[in-house]
């Protein structure tokens, strides 16, 4: 999809930097909105008429965006090779604008259309995701247009960092601002932001002609992109159980999941025989590449499960409903992510990509194991360690964030090491696709499983009589307090299970990461000089 020829001389270095700045800003804007719902989830669910005991109904608010994001990346991303980066960036920003407005106005639109607001909101989120997802590969392709091969990895890193920054800032931005202007306000704010971005992109990005991209246009693997999107759609719907009290999977789940896996197999077969592929791996070692993708996928699952389940745990077990307070609980985890990423980038040269990745996943696995032993009184618990007294919740979450942060830079760097330079942009996007798929499928699967465990466990936990709740006598109050304590314990048990599974994911990721090659096999002479002496 990307061309590997040298950067065009007609674009000045200053203009290049402005262009990629505008592209990265657009990527950040979209990435923010993937994570902004984390701290707003409970408020949004309530306004969508979704009760706290039926939160599974609101999960498409999260999964809809991610599904759109994964589908948009290969489909719309490839379009930019045909139509030009600027045109597609503008179309994506326009789509993102429309999606944001549909999301913000979902209640009013629902009223106008005589329908429930939730499907409107989900539609808005899918549109946002589709458009937002495409911005990343387009910006990465732009890097390939504007920079020569040796400079590309660093600039790709900038675009990737903008994407990562969204995961760190999104939940905080949603929590802090959402408490003041409401969740609708968060999406309305996108309107001026997107319009500013559109003007900046129009001014900064070179058109097709300026880049000299007038030769034969590269082909896009539309079939591959559609197959991947279809497979994920089937898996997501199949895993989204609306009745978790009855079974782990919905009744229509198994056939949809089987169909999803079948389509995935067709996708893999297609990728091995098609002439135009999503990622052209010819000449690249397959095993390390897939190891990077699977490790990214598992990291994505751990990331989203942490973000959402900590917020839900805070609400259900700790009684924290203010989005600002939920955001505060995530601060240590989120702040540790970039710290880990910077450290990972710095030490990868000394200890090797594989070593840092494995260690990072092991740290996370340990941290999630600690989380899986939390009692319901976690807010006041402390670690007494070597004479230090540390708040247990913040410490464990910071450790988990640090470990996940450590693997970000090595995984991004490893993929560039593995694939030929002409595929750098696509492969970088592939890492993000894999991580987003992990978020999507991991979150859907673990949530369904956790909720089922919760409902099975509380089958005999008698809810207080409504009459007693509304007109309580002192004995009723004591009984209600006892019920609430028991409920908190069951909820805590559910989250403990979910985090234990997350720890297992990280452990598997650590093992898979062992397959990331330490040395680049058969270096291509043309790019030998781009290699950092990272191997020891």
């Amino acid at each position: 999809m990307l061309r590997s020829d040298a950067a065009p001389a007609s674009v000045t270095p200053a203009r290049r930097r402005v262009a990629i700045g505008a592209g990265a800003a657009a990527v950040l804007l979209a990435s923010l909105d993937a994570y902004v719902v984390v701290t707003l989830f409970v408020d949004m669910a309530r306004d969508m008429h979704v009760a706290v005991n039926r939160l599974e109904q609101a999960t498409p608010v999260v999964t809809g965006f991610l599904l759109g994001y994964v589908a948009g990346m290969p489909l719309l991303g490839g379009l930019s090779d045909k139509m030009g980066r600027r045109a597609v960036t503008q179309i994506c920003l326009g789509g993102f604008l429309v999606g944001s407005m549909v999301t913000a106005a979902s209640i009013e639109i629902g009223e106008y259309l005589d329908m429930e607001p939730l499907p409107v909101l989900v539609a808005g989120r899918v549109i946002q995701g589709l458009a937002g997802g495409a911005l990343l590969p387009v910006s990465m392709a732009l890097v390939a247009d504007l920079w020569t091969e040796e400079r590309r990895p660093a600039v790709l890193g900038t675009v990737g960092a903008a994407q990562e920054l969204g995961s760190v800032l999104g939940p905080l931005y949603g929590g802090a601002l959402g408490a003041i202007i409401g969740w609708q306000g968060i999406f309305w704010i996108n309107v001026p932001l997107v319009l500013i971005a559109m003007v900046a992109v129009q001014a900064a990005l070179p058109g097709r002609a300026a880049l000299g991209l007038t030769g034969p246009r590269p082909k896009v693997d539309l079939v591959g992109g559609l197959l991947l999107a279809l497979s994920l759609g089937l898996l997501t719907v199949g895993l989204n159980n609306q009745k978790p009290e009855e079974s782990i999977l919905p009744p229509y789940g198994p056939p949809l999941i089987i169909a999803g896996v079948a389509v995935l197999v067709v996708f893999l077969i297609w990728e091995s025989i098609a002439r135009t592929k999503l990622v052209d791996l010819s000449g690249a070692p397959k095993l390390p590449f897939f190891a990077v993708l699977i490790a990214s996928l598992l990291a994505g699952a751990a990331l989203l499960v942490t973000l959402l389940d900590i917020v839900l745990l805070a609400q259900g077990v700790l009684g924290i409903t203010d989005p600002r307070e939920s955001a505060k609980l995530l601060v240590y985890f989120l702040a540790a992510l970039p710290v880990g990423a910077v450290i990972g980038g710095l030490i990868a040269g000394k200890f090797g990509l594989r070593g840092v990745t494995v260690v990072g996943f092991l740290i996370s696995a340990g941290a999630y194991w600690l989380v899986s032993t939390w009692p319901a009184s976690i807010l006041t618990e402390r670690h007494e360690l070597l004479g230090l007294s540390l708040p247990r919740m913040n410490t464990d979450l910071a450790l988990a964030g640090l470990g996940l942060g450590l693997v970000i830079a090595p995984l991004s760097a490893a993929v560039l090491r593995i694939v030929p330079p002409s595929q750098h942009g696509v492969a970088s996007a592939g890492v993000v696709v894999a991580r987003t798929i992990g978020m999507l499928v991991g979150f859907a699967a673990l949530t369904g499983w956790g909720l089922h465990r919760f409902h099975t466990g509380t089958r005999d936990l008698k809810f207080p009589e409504l009459d007693d709740l509304l007109n309580p006598t002192p004995e009723d109050l004591a009984a209600i307090a006892q019920y609430e304590a028991q409920l908190r314990d069951y909820l805590m048990g559910m989250y403990r299970d979910i985090f234990l599974a997350t720890a297992a994911c990280c452990l598997v990721a650590a093992v898979v990461s062992l397959a990331i090659t330490r040395r680049r096999p058969a270096p291509q002479p043309a790019v030998e000089h781009t290699e950092a002496p990272a191997t020891v």
Partner: protein, 241 residues
Amino acid sequence: MSRPLRGHFVRSLLPLVASLLLVPGLLAACTKDKDGNEASGESLPDGATLLTESASAMTDVETVHIVLDINPAVGALPITRAEGDLKRGGDAKGAIQLLAGAQLLEVEFVVMGDNAWLKYPTGGWRAAGSITAIYDPSAILDPQRGVANLLSTSSNARTEGAEKVNGVDAWRVAVDIDQKAANMLVPGVPKGLTGTVWIDQDTKRMVKAVVNSPQSGSTPASTITLDMTNFNTAVDVSAPV
């Protein structure tokens, strides 16, 4: 883009312009005046006659699906929504949403004759003496207590126009609503209720009602919306345990 355009600049602006054009279009679509398809020139049917016809048509309804939204809750019970399938005799199944503090709780219900079952957030289904302590869904189709009564006791009816709601062509009728009749459907509503009902032009059934409940004492001003669909489609209500 097959037609040659003048210069690259114009061409490069196209996507920008296209996406900007979408914005006012979408906004216009969202704020479009609902009176757009007013029956112009023709005289509208008399409001009071429509109410009488509708009250009589509602007595023939055997089953219906309802969504009752109370925003915000009024009266002693913090109910914000009741949704379900009702049978004329009082059998019903569905769910009620209650606001407990800042949290919305859903309680499922099944009513069969004199038996009722409730499913709270935990503990599965269990027999409840009666559901009427929370909400009595059998009131809605009852000729003496329900929608038919609400329509026949409403006054000052003015037909305002024709529009499509809940999938049918309906007359929109503004009315003053009797507090006693409304209280049987939503306990706790104060005096001074105004509202709008939508009456199916063919069947004369009421398909939707919006009641504006004014602020009164500690009761906040509230908007109560009742949507009725799936008239006389088979409803299967069976004991959950």
